[in-house]
């Protein structure tokens, strides 16, 4: 079946990187993204799980990008690097 997701506007800029990571975690899965829409071919039994897993990838990517400067500051503060 085709699983179609519409990504909220606040998250759209993180989708391309999230797709890359999702593919890395699920090699062989057919997934395409086009703007705010993401579609993937899945077996019905795994649809809910994969939808959640993909959204986790998007969230994680957003958290990672937004907090990377803070993490670098933190590390520099304790290591001097």
């Amino acid at each position: 079946m085709s699983l179609n997701l519409t990504i909220p506007e606040k998250l759209q800029e993180y989708v391309p990187d999230a797709v890359v990571r999702f593919r890395y975690l699920n090699p062989g899965l057919d997934i395409v993204c086009d703007g705010s829409a993401v579609a993937m071919s899945v077996v019905p039994e795994r649809a809910a799980e994969l939808e959640q897993e993909f959204m986790f990838c998007v969230y994680r990517q957003k958290i990672y990008v937004e907090t990377l400067p803070l993490r670098k500051t933190l590390l520099a503060g304790v290591t001097g690097l």
């Binding site: 909220p8 890395y24 986790f56 969230y59 957003k62 990672y64 993490r71 933190l74 503060g77």
Partner: protein, 469 residues
């Protein structure tokens, strides 16, 4: 207010476990994740995050400084080189099928330190700047070279303010002189007892006579040296493990209260004889059940029992700076705090590094005692020894408690860039931390009793397992 980066993982019950980079953790539902990711936190969320050290107002304020301190305390910093593992011989009087160091037969020549090697080792020890030294004798069977052990011990006692010696012996056939050596206050014994006599015989001693010989020596060691000076660990075949209760009962009957379960290592002879490379899921199931058996045992036992590595991981969750185990550190800097000197005088950064060098997979030697330590190869490896910014670990809530083991990755996969979740190290540690957090959030009084004992507190009332409602 700024929230420190939060990593999350789905729990079996549907909620999520969140943790920050300093090891602060809590449970929350998926609605919180949506609010956090989209920047729509409620007043309740903000109050909770501030009260529990996950947020700050400006760089350098008290909350930030506290977090920075906790973050720094989680990082391992190698100290002076004050721990050496010496392998005076590869010869052994047992022929265990799972031998991880590829030992040689007792009478095989050419696998012992020469006189020149011994002198060079002494010169190396003499050049150390530390005032305290821990020397671990491994093999082969190190007691086959008691003369070397005695010479190293005598030198160290004159050279260092404080010494500790650990002899990793099979206790199969110690001579009278060996017993005399072991009875000194600064000498400790580490041996193997594979669960119960039947398993020990099948995996190590092969004959009933040799099994009885070992058991006699083992009991003698426990009686004469005391359980404080003797440690024993069982090596477990994950595909054919002994019943958990059998191990617990046999160890407890010998008054051994700490059991360190070790799955057969993917090293040495075990690479060919056992399917030890991809056994994480089988091992995790056994290990989790073993912990459950311990919890049941401890509920009614007068003398409680722990699984050593589980307790180590639990304490890494509950407090920072718990870096005493070389297999679980971050960053996992090798070749600094301790080194291994093999039977031919070569330096290795870890025991596992000498093992994979011995089978010809990689040469991880870092010089030898004749020409000195060569750090270039190890320094290159150490550049990848942190999990903080690893593309997989950076999203994992267990990252602050976990470590990294590049040598294990090299051993199993021949590379260090495999996705972490596909590695044995990650799968096993994810299993351990899943178990720990399921217990931290358990209200079962049996579980809480064992957690209190293992974490060293009078009561484990569950308040440490915070939850954002």
């Amino acid at each position: 207010m700024t929230v420190m980066p939060l990593k999350f993982r789905k729990l079996p019950v549907g909620d999520l476990l969140f943790a920050d980079d300093a090891g602060g953790f809590f449970q929350a539902d998926q609605e919180f994740l949506h609010r956090y990711a989209l920047g729509d936190l409620t007043d309740v969320d903000i109050t909770f995050l501030e009260a529990n050290g996950h947020a700050f107002h400006e760089l350098g304020d008290l909350s930030y400084a506290g977090f920075e301190y906790r973050f720094a305390s989680r990082l391992y910093t190698p100290g002076d080189l004050d721990y050496v593992i010496l392998v005076p011989t590869l010869r052994c009087d047992l022929a265990c099928g799972y031998c991880q160091v590829s030992r040689v037969n007792e009478n095989t020549p050419g696998f012992d330190w020469t006189d020149e090697t011994l002198k060079a080792v002494i010169r190396f020890l003499d050049g150390l700047t530390t005032k305290m030294i821990k020397v671990e004798f491994q093999g082969g069977e190190p007691l086959l070279r008691l003369d070397v052990l005695q010479e190293v011990r005598d030198f160290c006692r004159t050279r260092f303010d404080k010494c500790e010696f650990v002899v990793c012996t099979n206790l199969q056939d110690p001579s009278d002189d060996a017993w005399e050596f072991l009875e000194h206050d600064d000498v400790f014994v580490s041996t193997s007892f594979d669960a119960d006599p039947g398993t020990h015989e099948a995996q190590r001693t092969i004959t009933a006579a040799k099994t009885q010989q070992f058991l006699g020596n083992f009991r003698r060691a426990l009686e004469r040296l005391g359980t404080d000076k003797v440690s024993a660990l069982p090596t477990i075949n994950p595909h054919n493990p002994p019943p958990a209760r059998s191990i617990i009962d046999h160890y407890a009957s010998l008054n051994l209260r700490s059991i360190y379960l070790r799955p057969i290592n993917h090293q040495g002879f075990a690479r060919k004889k056992y399917d030890a490379r991809g056994s994480a899921s089988t091992w995790n199931a056994y290990y989790s059940a073993f912990i459950d058996h311990l919890v049941d045992y401890n509920w009614i036992a007068e003398q409680t029992v722990e699984e050593y590595y589980f307790v180590h991981c639990l304490r890494r969750v509950l407090r920072s700076g718990h870096n005493g185990h070389a297999d679980l550190r971050n960053p996992s800097i090798v070749g600094s705090g301790y080194v291994v000197i093999d039977h031919d005088g070569k330096f290795y950064p870890t025991d596992e590094a000498r093992m994979i060098s011995r089978v010809g997979q990689f040469d991880l030697a870092m010089g030898d005692v004749f020409t000195g330590i060569s750090r270039s190869k190890i320094d290159e490896l150490n550049q990848e020894a942190s999990n903080n910014f690893h593309p997989d670990c950076v999203h994992c809530p267990y990252q602050p408690f976990c470590g990294i083991d590049l040598i294990d990755d090299l051993s199993r996969y021949g590379r260090i860039d495999l996705p972490k979740h596909l590695t044995d190290f990650c799968q096993k540690h994810t299993g351990i931390f899943d178990k720990i957090f399921s217990m931290i959030y358990s209200s079962d009084p049996k579980v809480r009793k064992s957690l209190a004992i293992w974490s060293g507190v009078p009561n484990f009332d569950g308040s440490i397992g915070k939850r954002l409602q």
